[in-house]
């Protein structure tokens, strides 16, 4: 194997030439003056590293620039800045859908994309590469003496009955600041009225709001939280020891399945290379690496059918509704009214 030099650059401030913010940019060099593939993603570099290595092994000479940004920044980069990326991978399905719907994605069709089930793609433009449950994490110690909840209603009544135990120890995403959090909250709201009651009860219990799953899990492990509501299951499974204090709950009333989606932007400098990486992600090797090494569950229709509470968030124009600025304003206003109480 060729030796690979990794050059990691931390970009903490605003990227010099662009308006959107990049958290981290890593160059995986190939041969000098060779083709360069640039990927913009919401997924941490470390998670994708094994896939990048395997891809470079299969395509020697290709340099790979992997940039990480938040989902709203990813959207802004493609939509407003026409930034030069060959592939955009994001967990914010609604924003990805908006990009594809508004004509910011190129069509890509191959033998690999043909194997995807219909619910995992949209218009030959948007492809799901992983399916991740949105879970709730509980602390075993924190729930000592209580029945462990199985549904949101269970959790709700536990919170109502034991306000002192839960006060200040409930963590969830801040939908106003986190794209994924916004998607989870809106999908919950759409799915059931329990969400608003839950939000109201949480609001009385002084919840802590986060922008990322990792921080929430960290605080749960350190004992500051006993409930982390709506966390990406893949992060949880990766960072929590199986027999530790944390319990991963897939609520039995419904558990949303988030599809991590990829698209090739209209302004891609090398869409062929973007398509090649996408095909690699969807290939059996790529899917296995995602599933086994990166911890992002592979696209698997049978796994969804096996459990009745799993609801994949559908890739359809409905996702556009909550992207509408008026709708968003309205939702966040209502959410703030419920949760952020004076």
């Amino acid at each position: 194997m060729r030796r690979i030099i990794l050059a990691a650059v931390m970009v903490l401030a605003a990227h010099a030439a662009t308006a959107f913010q990049i958290e981290e940019e890593t160059l995986f060099p190939g041969t000098p003056n060779g083709r360069e593939l640039s990927i913009l993603s919401t997924t941490d570099t470390e998670i994708f590293r094994p896939l990048i290595d395997a891809f470079q092994q299969a395509n020697p000479g290709v340099s790979l620039r992997y940039s990480v940004a938040s989902s709203t920044e990813v959207y802004a980069a493609v939509h407003d800045d026409h930034a030069a990326y060959d592939l955009v991978i994001s967990s914010a399905m609604d924003l990805q859908m908006k990009l594809a719907n508004d004509g910011y994605a190129l069509a890509h069709r191959s033998a690999q994309t043909g194997t995807l089930p219909a619910w995992a793609r949209w218009r030959d433009q948007l492809y799901a590469v992983a399916q991740e449950p949105v879970v709730t994490i509980l602390s075993r110690k924190g729930f000592a003496g209580l029945d462990l909840p199985h549904t949101r209603a269970d959790l709700l009544s536990l919170m109502r009955d034991n306000p002192d135990r839960f006060r200040g120890r409930i963590g969830t995403y801040d939908p106003a600041r986190s794209g994924a959090g916004y998607l989870f909250a809106t999908q919950d709201a759409r799915q059931s009225d329990t969400f608003w009651r839950l939000a109201e009860v949480m609001g009385t219990l002084d919840p802590r709001l986060y922008t990322g799953s990792a921080d929430m899990i960290g605080d749960l492990q350190s004992g500051q939280l006993i409930v982390a509501y709506n966390v990406l299951g893949s992060y949880a499974a990766a960072s929590l020891p199986p027999d530790g204090d944390a319990i991963i709950l897939q609520p039995e009333d419904f558990t949303h399945i988030l599809l991590r989606t990829a698209l090739i932007p209209r302004d891609a400098p090398d869409p062929g290379l973007g398509g090649a990486f996408l095909d690699f992600l969807l290939s059996d090797q790529g899917q296995t690496l995602l599933d086994q090494v990166a911890g992002l569950p592979r696209i698997n229709e049978a796994a969804l059918a096996a459990e009745q509470n799993l609801r994949p968030i559908r890739l359809d124009p409905g996702l556009l509704v909550y992207v509408d600025p008026l709708k968003r304003q309205r939702f966040l206003r209502e959410w703030a009214a419920a949760v952020v109480q004076p």
């Binding site: 218009r123 409905g318 509704v321 909550y322 309205r330």
Partner: protein, 460 residues
């Protein structure tokens, strides 16, 4: 198309063409109507989904203190994804000002009234989109403001469905055409069949078969067949009259000739004047000649007439040959000729008209004796093969002297070798006629070593 209007072309082909063209036109119409109906059905369905989405949004509009409250229901857009993966655009305007959505989405030409959406197609973002628009008044602080809701969708799924339907319609049209084509072939064949079978029946007839056509024919062919029958009967009438006339004429000539000959012989006996006797002998000779001519003519007429209505007798050719040999015995003796008949021991049966065969054979033997030198030999040989029986009459006479058979068998044609032998030139004509009437063959050839061989071969 030339075949279609060519008066000499085939009726079947013309009929087939017309039927096929008709079928093709009908199939085309079927395809067009099915695909048009399908398209409009799909369009109407898609429009009503689009309209429902638009109305769903419009119904969620509420007046609030600070303006109009817009709350797009999730299902409004979600249902648009039910049919296919089409892009969705929307635009909401309050008093003509875009409050949310795509502010360049084209507006309808006229403002829609009531909650019935107005549908129109318009290019947008390089694609053709279908737009539904509704307008609804909303009360804001007791003042009515007009809110317009536009929802647009690309038509990829609809085009795919319509394309699929069109394919099915095309398959339907093709199938219809295929069935119609088969039916057309069958129809054309069955229509032309009576004509064909009539023609075939007529073609199967022997050349002399002048019976009227009695088989049942379709109405349309009845005049033709009636005309044909009239024609046939006129023809056979004319033929019969001719033969009767010849026979009667010959008879009417022979009777006075016989009287004339008797009187000339009487006169010959009564006179001693040499010159007168010579003249009278000449008269008798001429009368004989004329009588021979008359009888040959009669024979020929009889043969021609009989060959029209020949009888199917079972005859033994060997026995017939022996009979004829016997009857010519005296004539042969008169000329010091040896007449030998060779036949198989068993009978040689064949189906033929006895009178015809006999007449032919008599003429052949007559020729052989007539054109032989005294002391010559004439033999009659009968043979049989698997399919044919033949009789060969051979002599050692003067031979044909290079004359061709086709010439000698023509009416009243005699060879250059006849010398002073009398004859009319009808004998071989009769033989040839018999051979033809019986589907047999007649050959005439010089023999090696001098003489002539005449052979009549007839099917068993």
């Amino acid at each position: 198309m030339k075949t279609l209007f060519n008066p000499a072309g085939s009726i079947r082909r013309r009929l087939l063409w017309l039927l096929l063209i008709g079928a093709a036109v009908l199939s085309g119409l079927l395809y067009l109507s099915v695909s048009t109906v399908a398209r409009s059905a799909v369009e109407t369905t898609q429009d009503s989904i689009l309209g429902a989405a638009t109305i769903a949004i419009a119904e969620q509009l509420r007046g609030a203190d600070d303006g109009v409250e817009v709350d797009i229901p999730y299902t409004a857009f979600s249902m648009l994804g039910a049919v296919g993966e089409d892009r969705v655009f929307y635009r909401i305007l309050v008093n003509g000002e875009t409050v949310t959505g795509y502010d360049d989405l084209p507006l309808p030409d006229t403002t829609p009234a009531g909650l019935t959406p107005r549908y129109y197609s318009h290019p947008y973002q390089d694609m053709m989109v279908r737009i539904a628009a509704v307008e609804r008044p909303v009360l804001v602080s007791s003042r009515s403001v007009a809110v317009q809701v536009l929802v647009a969708q690309t038509r990829t799924a609809q085009d795919a469905i319509v394309g699929q339907m069109a394919n099915r319609a095309a398959a339907l049209g093709l199938g219809f055409f295929g069935v119609a084509a088969v039916l057309a072939v069958v129809t054309a064949r069955s229509v032309v069949q009576p004509v064909n079978s009539l023609a075939e029946a007529m073609g199967r007839r022997g050349p002399q078969d002048l019976r009227p056509v009695t088989r049942p024919v379709p109405q349309e062919l009845t005049p033709l067949v009636a005309a044909l029958n009239g024609f046939i009967s006129r023809l056979s009438g004319a033929l019969t009259r001719t033969e009767t006339f010849i026979a009667e004429a010959a008879h009417h000539i022979r009777t006075p000739l016989a009287t004339l000959r008797a009187q000339a012989e009487l006169a010959l006996r009564q006179t001693d004047d040499d010159a007168t006797r010579a003249t009278l002998r000449g008269v008798i000779r001429s009368v004989d000649d004329s009588a021979r001519s008359a009888s040959q003519l009669l024979e020929h007429a009889a043969v021609v007439y009989r060959s029209d209505q020949r009888a199917d007798d079972r005859i033994d050719l060997a026995a017939l040959a022996r009979d004829i040999g016997q009857s010519f015995g005296p004539t042969a003796d008169l000329r010091d000729l040896t007449l030998a008949v060779h036949t198989p021991d068993s009978p040689v049966w064949l189906t033929a008209d006895r009178l015809l065969v006999e007449t032919a054979l008599r003429n052949l033997v007559d020729n052989a004796i007539k054109y032989s030198n005294p002391d010559g030999q004439v033999s009659i040989d009968v043979d049989q093969s698997a399919t044919h029986a033949s009789v060969r009459v051979s002599d050692r006479g003067r031979g044909l002297d290079g004359a061709r058979r086709s010439h000698l068998t023509a009416r009243f044609q005699r060879g250059g070798n006849v010398g002073d032998v009398v004859g009319t030139g009808l004998g071989l004509t009769i033989v040839q006629e018999v051979a033809r009437a019986q589907n047999g063959s007649f050959t005439l050839s010089d023999r090696t070593g001098g003489g002539t061989c005449a052979e009549l071969s007839l099917p068993l």
